[in-house]
Symmetry: C2
Subunit: 337 residues, 2 copies
């Protein structure tokens, strides 16, 4: 069996996303699809905001985590779960583990937002800190998992995680249909690619003809470059962005394989454009978005995609942001260039 065949066999399918939706039913929030008449008028099209910041734990990550952990058997559940995450996957895993009565250990970078660290601990998880720029989180997690016989739940390179995130795409397609909206495009924040791959997979069957774009910080546009190059590209290790949730060094293997089939391309935006989107989400949608959660809206507002006369859904993937950073983004957005 070639490496590709192995990978292909592990790729989740639309049926996996549908099965995940059944598992999440009653546990995950059906997050609302919001719009603003004033914003629509200003952009000359219809923007639909999938307010996933209102999800349990404040981000989409609960979907994949619960889908994965709820499939473990009793013995595996008893051994607990280990995960590494800058904060949103951490909270998603912690919340899912708690609901399932499992012990969770989360390896988090020292520079993760205080709110994300505090909430992960408050959800009952043990938090182990590491230096994002000096240590390999995968190794730390593997060592802990081996010691305890626990399962590792990776943040995006896992078919159960991708299928779980795909439930967001299914929900979005259903909600758009319910209001009679035909989706021309969907903009999805992208780090390792689990969310955009899951959504694109789900939408390929649930909303055929809808183009799905991966939106990334301009300095960390690995998915966009990878799609253009036809193979996975790395980010500059010195690259930084205000989007603390979108700092993965390169696309995951499975997400990239799915993205090649189902994602139309990558869109890159600046931190300044992200701050403006955070400010618009605040003033016009009354939503608290973290920088990474606002990047899809940023791409739309910055003109990275045609909006005139079109219907574009935007996945507002999370809202876990510290107050000081949020206030600074609102202030920055108000300043002229």
């Amino acid at each position: 069996m070639t490496a590709f065949e192995t990978e292909s066999e592990r790729l989740p399918t639309a049926a996996d996303a549908a099965a995940a939706a059944a598992r999440l039913d009653g546990h995950a929030v059906v997050t609302p699809l919001l719009e603003s008449a004033l914003v629509n008028e200003r952009v000359g099209g219809r923007l639909l905001i999938k307010a996933e910041c209102l999800q349990r734990t404040g981000s989409f990550k609960f979907r994949g985590a619960f889908n994965a952990l709820s499939q473990l058997d009793d013995r595996e559940r008893a051994a607990g779960v280990v995960a590494y995450s800058s904060g949103n996957h951490a909270q998603g895993v912690a919340a899912a583990a708690r609901l399932l009565g499992m012990r969770a250990t989360i390896v988090m970078p020292t520079d993760a937002p205080a709110l994300k660290r505090a909430n992960t601990a408050a959800l009952g998880a043990e938090v182990v800190l590491y230096d994002r720029y000096r240590e390999a989180r995968e190794k730390i997690a593997a060592d802990i998992a081996r010691e305890r016989g626990a399962a590792i739940l990776p943040p995006f390179d896992d078919p159960r995680i991708i299928a779980g995130q795909g439930t967001l795409g299914l929900e979005l397609a259903r909600q758009a249909q319910a209001i009679g909206a035909r989706l021309d495009a969907v903009l999805v924040p992208c780090s390792g690619g689990g969310l955009v791959a899951g959504c694109a997979l789900a939408l390929a069957t649930a909303s055929p003809g809808t183009a799905v774009y991966a939106v990334e910080p301009a300095a960390l546009d690995d998915m966009g470059r990878s799609l253009r190059a036809g193979e996975r590209q790395r980010n500059d290790p010195d690259a930084r962005s205000i989007c603390d949730a979108l700092l993965a060094p390169m696309p995951g293997i499975l997400p990239f394989a799915l993205a090649r089939r189902h994602v139309s391309g990558g869109l890159a935006v600046s931190d300044r454009e992200v701050a403006r989107a955070v400010a618009l989400a605040f003033s016009d949608y009354k939503l608290v978005l973290e920088p990474g959660g606002a990047i899809g809206l940023a791409a739309a507002l910055a003109g990275r995609i045609e909006l005139t006369g079109r219907t574009v859904a935007i996945v507002a993937s999370g809202g876990n942001v510290d107050a000081e950073i949020f206030a600074r983004m609102l202030a920055d957005a108000g300043e002229t260039d």
Copy 2:
């Protein structure tokens, strides 16, 4: 006919709220009912947040305005509508008028939040400014209405307005039932009393046994005092509060008549407690609430009502707040006393 009979005849009924719900169907947002496992754990009870800040125009006011204006006949619609408002009723009336193809003129105080003024104008309404502490907005509005033959739509002392706001109570009762929650109490922000009266009226039949409380700024606790005194009481004209939406000088006649029958009492909170609630809505619910919209949550967090082992719904009535004020509240909330 006595004055009381006249008043009683004009009092809206639960059937009026149900009819309003039918009129609003497809026009108003069915705002989500949110909760946080972490907050519930901290308070030892179940808090359900009715996220009405996600309503069209960012507050509940669209409900009453659309219910009232959609009942006008063609001739009345052609004459337009005049309203006075510190900002949320202004936007509600402007948005409803626009949907119905009507001209709207809004009399607003000079100190209304910039966002509320800007959005009212952006919704196509003509904005006329007045000095809140020197001029009578009712007279200015009446003069304009007489000149143009236009209808005046008061912010709360109107049966169609109250019935429209009551649709929020109906929706809340249905949503609570859908998740198997029995509501022990509902906390509703109160200024002139249209929202709390409408909600209490609706809940009296849709959720019997649920206590409804009017929540007010401590310096403007006219509804609470009025309920205790058995007749309408005025606020000190020099009283100020950060809650710009809750500055009505006394309860409306119709809201007070309904509140005497259906509201259990008033709860009063300080501006500092409101800032803390705004900060919690930000960090734990990812919602942008304006001060007045967070006052119900403030009452719950400040211990004004027993939460242990109980299910309490909180109407988060609006989110129209300027960025600088929001940032200041987040900062204030973080400081210790």
